[in-house]
């Protein structure tokens, strides 16, 4: 496979996080309701029902069931492609939500619960759990978003010369002890992309895809990715296109 640059045997060494993850996995097997991410999904449901019953995620106002499986998509009313989180924020803005304040700090610090938008996204994603990714690609803007995401994914820049492919184009490689998921291969992408939003044990909160991307740019020594920007949506469009047909299992438990 041309994509595999360097592979080495995975060391057996496991860090404390892996052990904690194992514990969570066992707990989940005994009791699927012990996933802490479900509390956030519940909080998100409350918020949705009090604020967003008019919000159209693509399947009609207020309709949540199965909507996440068909995102990102083009929205004529906003004249752009949006992922779940971006769309939720767009809907919240119509209710007087302070978007500027939110954008200054859209993600929780370690141990803090996921913020409102993330909680709603967790709820929305959970309502597509068990379904398969089927984001539409008929609209030219949807095609363009996937192509743009592909270009950004491969674009090397910054003081470390990183692109997403530096870390996500070889199978079985690690940064320190963290396994790096292969995201350019549909078979591999289908396994992990549907796990977001997920409860991340090492951060002790639910992490959404927008947050995940921000964290990767942090490691890349590039700038803070603007929540809901075209670049952020395009990367998600690209990842979801790669994961097409993969099952959604959100909220999951991540390391």
């Amino acid at each position: 496979m041309c994509a595999a640059l360097v592979s080495a045997p995975l060391a057996l060494a496991q860090d404390a996080t892996e052990a904690a993850l194992e514990k969570y996995r066992r707990m989940l097997k005994d009791d699927p309701w012990s996933n802490p991410g479900l509390l956030d999904a519940d909080r998100g449901e409350e918020l949705w029902k009090t604020k967003l019953t008019a919000c159209d995620l693509g399947k009609g106002p207020g309709k949540v069931e199965g909507a996440f499986a068909e995102l990102p998509r083009f929205f004529a009313d906003a004249d752009r492609v949006m992922d779940a989180e971006t769309r939720i924020l767009w809907c919240l803005e119509k209710t007087g939500f302070n978007v500027a304040a939110f954008l200054r700090s859209p993600h929780p610090a370690g141990g803090q619960p996921v913020k409102e938008v993330g909680a709603i996204a967790t709820y929305v994603a959970s309502k597509s759990s068990g379904m398969k990714f089927a984001a539409p690609t008929a609209h030219p803007k949807e095609k363009e978003a996937v192509a743009l995401g592909d270009a950004l994914f491969n674009r090397r820049a910054g003081p470390f010369d990183f692109s997403c492919t530096t870390c996500h184009a070889s199978d079985g490689a690690r940064i320190r002890l963290q396994g790096l998921p292969l995201l350019i291969e549909p078979a591999a992408a289908r396994k992990v992309i549907g796990e977001w939003p997920g409860y991340r044990v090492s951060n002790a909160h639910v992490m959404t895809m927008q947050h995940r991307l921000l964290d990767c740019y942090w490691q890349m020594r590039q700038d803070r990715l603007v929540f809901g920007s075209d670049a952020s949506v395009a990367l998600t469009s690209y990842l979801v296109a790669n994961a097409k047909g993969g099952e959604i299992s959100a909220p999951s438990i991540k390391r």
Binding site: C2, G158, R174, I175, Y217, S232
Partner: protein
């Protein structure tokens, strides 16, 4: 797998990778990429914007999926060679203890690292195995355990190691290893400390 054979495996994989994905098909207009990049970043200071501008090497490596054809590779290699600066006193081997410290440290240049509270690290362990003692190492790069011993601690190898760390593309155009010296991540003095870590007889790398 012993060290020597793991080096061979790595070399083999690199050769296999030369089956080439070829040039990237441009499916989006460059203006669209530029616009997305402009709207994508929170800070808009000239320093941060400069990070998102590609230099010629980044541009070519992106265009050719990191597998540049011969002529392009030669250009990249030549410009990488020309970028290399040596410490003023010409000494290419420093203090391996400092080298170990910077190999461990991933601090620096991330958007939460300003103003800097620590020196910028080289983050070598993120990608390389270097010593028996450190089990938390990454595998994006080859194992460097026993590196100096394998290279016989020669003066040529010391110079080559310095140059590799200063600008990895001088040895392998479109390498995935950051150009730590050329990009201003590490100073020449820090790089020679990293060289010492790899090339000193008493360093944990060669135990």
């Amino acid at each position: 797998m012993n060290r020597i054979s793991s080096y061979l495996v790595v070399a083999g994989v690199l050769v296999a990778a030369a089956c080439t994905l070829g040039e990237r098909k441009m499916t989006v207009a460059p203006e669209l990429i530029d616009a997305a990049l402009k709207g994508g970043w929170a800070a808009s200071t000239p320093e941060w914007l400069a990070r998102h501008t590609q230099d010629e090497t980044m541009r070519l490596c992106t265009q050719y999926n990191n597998e540049p054809p011969k002529a392009v590779a030669a250009t990249i290699e030549a410009s990488a060679r020309a970028s290399i600066k040596y410490p003023a006193d010409g000494k290419l081997i420093g203090d391996w203890r400092q080298g170990e410290r910077l190999a461990q440290s991933g601090y620096g240049m991330r958007f939460t690292d300003y103003p800097a509270r620590n020196p910028t690290g080289g983050n070598c362990y993120a990608c390389h195995q270097l010593s028996e003692a450190e089990v938390s190492y990454g595998t994006l790069g080859p194992s460097l355990l026993g590196y100096g011993k394998i290279k016989d601690f020669t003066a040529e190898a010391i110079k080559a190691t310095y140059e590799k760390i200063y600008n990895s593309h001088a040895v392998l155009p479109c390498s995935n290893m950051p150009r730590l010296g050329a990009n201003g991540v590490l100073t020449p003095e820090q790089i020679r400390d990293a060289v010492a870590l790899l090339m000193s007889r008493d360093s944990p790398v060669n135990k």
